[in-house]
């Protein structure tokens, strides 16, 4: 293929976009609306997931030891805990440290008065943070089977609730994203199909004159790609601009939420949303136009 032919087909693709202004507008609007909904939902789910992850990270279990267990053995057990797959972080609290914190909180700076000895002696413990809250039971069982361990404090309810909500969010979001994508693909390919059916005559004329399939197809496919690209850039820009505005509105309006919730930055969301949206938009434009032109090429 000559370079002039290549540029001619490119130019035709761009011109098609403007020649069929209403059709292009309808296609771009459909793609933009579908991908905007998709992006909106993705942002919300991403934030919920992040909030849940933050909550999960705060869930910890506390491990107490029997009297008489040596410091060396406690340190060994600490290392064993650290090596577990369920564990993200282990913090050792000595009984002096605990008494100091507890005493100063409840009795003030003179907490030691009247307590010649540490009343919490022997309560040194490990505070264990989990990498995945759903694995809490496995870790607790393992710890409880250790002869040196006196007691394991944990909240079954918190872990179960977080695990349940997490799974629910995962399933619901996968289902909704799949439905949104399916609806988008259906609507977009339908719009592309209608647009190209209108131009079936044009395609047949080109074929009668002796145009190759590539010559006929290339401008349409390029047009589809451009429609997909524009249709995906618009919702991305909208979401980018709206996100910070909505976030500052929510944190201003509901101040209590801002201290409790940790929202994800738009950059983090775009790390995933940008490529997915562009691939879906351009992919739908490309595949939709390619498949539909193919039908009309058998002339």
């Amino acid at each position: 293929m000559k370079i002039s032919t290549f540029f001619y087909t490119l130019w035709q693709g761009v011109r098609n976009l403007f020649r069929n202004g209403w059709y292009s507008l309808a296609s771009i609007s459909t793609i933009a609306a579908c991908l905007f909904l998709f992006g909106l939902f993705f942002s919300v789910v991403f934030n919920i997931r992040n909030i849940l992850l933050t909550a999960e990270e705060a869930v910890s279990i506390t491990v107490f030891f029997n009297e008489g267990v040596s410091d060396t053995r406690i340190a060994e057990i600490g290392d064993e805990i650290k090596g577990r797959v369920e564990v993200s972080e282990v913090v050792f609290h000595s009984d002096e440290e605990i008494w100091e914190e507890f005493g100063s909180t409840y009795y003030g700076p003179d907490y030691a008065t009247g307590f010649p000895e540490n009343p919490l002696e022997g309560d040194h413990n490990y505070e264990v943070f989990l990498s995945d809250v759903s694995m809490q039971d496995t870790l607790v069982n393992w710890l409880q089977n250790k002869s040196e361990v006196r007691k394991v404090n944990y909240s079954e309810l918190t872990a179960d609730t977080l695990t349940g909500v997490n799974s629910l969010i995962a399933y619901v979001s996968i289902a909704i994203i799949a439905i949104l994508l399916a609806v988008s693909i259906f609507l977009i390919s339908n719009t592309v199909r209608v647009g190209i059916s209108v131009r079936a005559e044009e395609i047949s004329i080109m074929k009668y004159v002796g145009a190759t399939d590539f010559f006929v197809r290339a401008p349409f496919v390029l047009e589809g790609i451009l429609i997909g690209l524009i249709g995906s850039v618009i919702p991305l820009l909208l979401i980018h601009e709206l996100y910070d505005y909505v976030l500052s509105y929510v944190t201003d309006r509901f101040e209590i939420l801002s201290s409790m919730l940790n929202f994800v930055s738009i950059e983090e969301i775009f790390h995933y949303l940008l490529p997915v949206t562009l691939i879906v938009g351009v992919g739908i434009g490309f595949i939709g136009s390619l498949a539909t032109v193919r039908k009309h090429l058998r002339v």
């Binding site: 000559k2 074929k207 009668y208 004159v209 145009a211 010559f215």
Partner: protein
């Protein structure tokens, strides 16, 4: 290796017939009777042939077979040395570039101007830009549209649109011009102008096949007339006349 019969037939087609329909039948699955029923027809290089007949006689099917829009159910269709039955999908564009085609409804690219419609035929065979810029005005002058090269084809009269279609069909210097009811949508004056142009093109050596149901044109031009009825050729006469069914 081709058998003797095929070699002989190819030589025959090559030496004598630019178009050769060899015992051709065409059946549409949804129709009971064949649209074309075992016809044999030869058109020689440089000939001018009218194909006439009433609706359903099979003349449009014949044009579709010659264009390789359809493939014969049985028999072979030879055009310009190609056996259309043996053409692969990828070879069809090259085959069609050796033909010029004009339709009753003009079939112009409506979103392009006169120049672009004609130039399109050159673009697909990748004619260099400079040459194209010489060829297109030249052919537009020949069909009397030199001054309208920038016009929107939708704003042209029927006669002018058909001239654009004719210019597009001829710009690549095809050896055969197929015209399917070229005057079907035109008034008598425009019809005669178009037919005169087609005759001139024929006089320059292009083989012309015109499908028509216009007795006035057929009778006035005194060319070879092939008359079809219900899928068969009922008459084939040099300087023939239009035969009405009744």
């Amino acid at each position: 290796m081709a058998d003797k019969k095929t070699i002989m037939r190819n030589r025959f087609v090559d030496e004598n017939g630019i178009i050769f329909l060899d015992n051709v039948s065409m059946n549409y699955p949804e129709q009971g009777a064949p649209a074309i029923d075992n016809i044999t027809l030869r058109v020689d290089r440089g000939e001018f042939v009218f194909i006439t007949g009433d609706s359903g006689s099979g003349k449009s099917t014949m044009i579709k077979l010659l264009l390789r829009e359809l493939v014969a159910t049985s028999g072979n269709v030879y055009v310009n040395g190609y056996n259309t039955k043996k053409l692969r999908h990828g070879q069809i564009p090259k085959f069609r570039r050796s033909l010029g085609v004009v339709f009753q409804d003009f079939r112009l690219l409506k979103d392009r101007n006169v120049y672009e419609n004609v130039a399109f035929a050159q673009r697909i065979i990748e004619v260099p830009g400079a040459q194209m810029r010489r060829n297109v005005p030249s052919i537009l002058s020949m069909v009397g549209l030199a001054g309208k090269y920038k016009s929107d084809v939708r704003k042209l009269s029927g006669g002018e649109q058909q001239r654009v279609a004719l210019a597009r069909a001829l710009i690549n210097k095809p050896s055969i011009l197929l015209a399917d009811e070229p005057t079907g949508n035109l008034d008598p004056n425009n019809s005669w102008e178009i037919m005169s142009m087609i005759e001139e093109i024929n006089e320059m050596g292009t083989t012309v096949v015109v499908v028509t149901h216009s007795p006035e044109i057929v009778n006035a031009m005194k060319k070879r007339v092939v008359t079809m009825r219900k899928g068969i050729i009922v008459s084939d006469e040099e300087e023939g006349l239009y035969i009405n069914e009744d």
